[in-house]
Symmetry: C2
Subunit: 328 residues, 2 copies
């Protein structure tokens, strides 16, 4: 493993000159520059970036924290971010927190140790007060998830609206008994529930806690929820699932049990993932323009990093759209 010293020696010049060549400083004569480059080439020299970072060089890397990479929403989000970052010469580093608050916090070491210039929080298991201390080491913004106390930019959707339009759609179709699923108590889930409750109560309906489920994330969870409601005496005729994965599982399991969707059970998903158009029936869902969110979040992050934008408490809201298909 060669160092700058070896290069300097080989080129018959000082470390300072070699460093100047590496960093494209002016005031290096053409011939010395070439000599240095040749020496680097011959040795296969690569600067040690730990050493460089010690001298406060930007890393041109951004980390994204997500909770569950197996959720296609996150895959797509990250993919869009990555593309945007690459376009600006930045690398994206992906960290999967598995909905574990400690793990989420551990990844902030990347910031502290200057391995990344910024962190995009697309998962938020920790309170803002736990995150805040890290902001002095680099840029932190939220994307999709957020903490209301946060004093940084939040690129997100109006999830209250999301919950509202999904539920309203079912009400408009004449349903009065509408079930609801959510993940954990994240900001997204909490707000969506608010929207659901708003729509339901507006329609003069008393929400039935029996029909509201928590910690529901996967296709298998969706299947299970179907079985739970199928076993009920008084059961919902429609379901707002908050996730296309859950919707897919629920619909499939219903069909396997001889139910007809939407006649026996109407289902609304969330995300407009590919699965929504692949299943039969193609199902109604809410498109949140995932790629746009990812792209916008990365755009904002890069602007802040490069000093072109201030990182203040600000919500950047992106649109949501109900896509009606055959499951409702």
């Amino acid at each position: 493993m060669y160092t700058i010293k070896d290069v300097a020696l080989k080129a018959g010049l000082s470390q300072a000159t070699v460093s100047r060549v590496i960093n494209n400083h002016p005031y290096v004569s053409e011939d010395k520059k070439q000599a240095v480059q040749r020496a680097m080439e011959e040795l296969g020299y690569v600067p040690n970036s730990s050493a460089r970072r010690l001298r406060n060089i930007k890393t041109k890397k951004v980390a994204v924290l997500i909770s569950r990479i197996v959720n296609p929403f996150f895959s797509q989000l990250v993919d869009a971010m990555e593309q945007k970052a690459a376009k600006h010469g930045y690398q994206l580093i992906l960290c999967n927190t598995r909905i574990n608050p400690e793990k989420e916090l551990e990844y902030f070491e990347l910031l502290q140790s200057k391995q990344v210039d910024g962190i995009i929080l697309a998962a938020a298991e920790n309170k803002w007060e736990a995150i805040a201390p890290f902001t002095r080491y680099g840029t932190v913004i939220y994307c999709n998830e957020y903490d209301p106390d946060a004093t940084v930019t939040r690129v997100r959707l109006d999830q209250v609206e999301g919950g509202y339009i999904g539920t309203k759609h079912l009400l408009d179709k004449g349903h009065r008994k509408i079930g609801y699923c959510q993940g954990n108590d994240s900001s997204v889930s909490v707000n969506r529930r608010r929207g659901y409750l708003k729509a339901v109560t507006e329609a003069g309906i008393e929400p039935n806690p029996e029909w509201m489920f928590k910690d529901i994330f996967t296709i298998d969870n969706g299947r299970e929820i179907f079985r739970r409601i199928a076993a009920m005496d008084d059961r919902p005729t429609a379901f707002f699932t908050g996730s296309d994965e859950v919707a897919a599982g629920m619909i499939k399991e219903a069909q396997l049990n001889g139910w007809c969707v939407p006649d026996d059970l109407a289902v609304v998903g969330f995300d407009d993932q590919p699965i929504a158009t692949l299943m039969d029936p193609q199902f109604t869902t809410i498109n949140q323009f995932t790629s746009d969110i990812g792209e916008k979040a990365m755009e904002v992050m890069l602007e802040i990093i490069e000093g072109k934008r201030e990182n203040k408490a600000e919500d950047i809201l992106l649109p949501l759209k109900l896509i009606e298909r055959q499951s409702t």
Copy 2:
């Protein structure tokens, strides 16, 4: 941002002693240890890990390079790796190369600069000779993809076998005109094609290059392939797609055009992703026990890092299994 110097000053001790406390060295008296810890606490001190890394401290981080995070196969693979790594106190860092050789190579900077202890290559756009120089900076192994020249461990599947059993299954069902899709010319694709060709020629059939497609990755690609073959005069009656995403797109598009699967077109996927059981018909595919691959690869990586295993040219093969469903 406080340094070890500040802590030393505050505790009335030397930097060396502080460092010893940080690193749990023996030979530090209990009272000084407490004093140091108190000082660190009060200042909110965190060691600068760039500086630490300069002195060759292990990072307890492993990077995984994948080509396409939106492919559920990779999401699942990574998820399994992450779980295994976490169990051993390691962090996983995910890098999406987007099938771009330069990007793939750029991520090796993480190794060079000691930001990770090892890299698992689940994408292999570069030749081994391009990768080899980096091996002196840390551990490199392959997972799923590989380069035959590589002199490191490869955790993978017998893809020739995979291509063979998928095609053989269609032959056994009486098909003689079997189409084939692959991604780019990766080791996985190349070997799978070998298996396909072996099965076909064994059956005395001349493979038809018209029915063999390349650079096919996505659901939309699958849809397009259907349209291409539908427009042919002489068309295949069955398809080995090499991917559940492609199979899903193809089946859906066929149905939208009034074809019946499997009667008008039989389709075999690859991966046994959730989608394979959600669609109607549920489709035949090849289960490659994705989680097992990820888990095994991470296990091997950690063993090598911790010196319990030698990193030599060795293939660790995991099983494949054809899952027959209703699409064939």
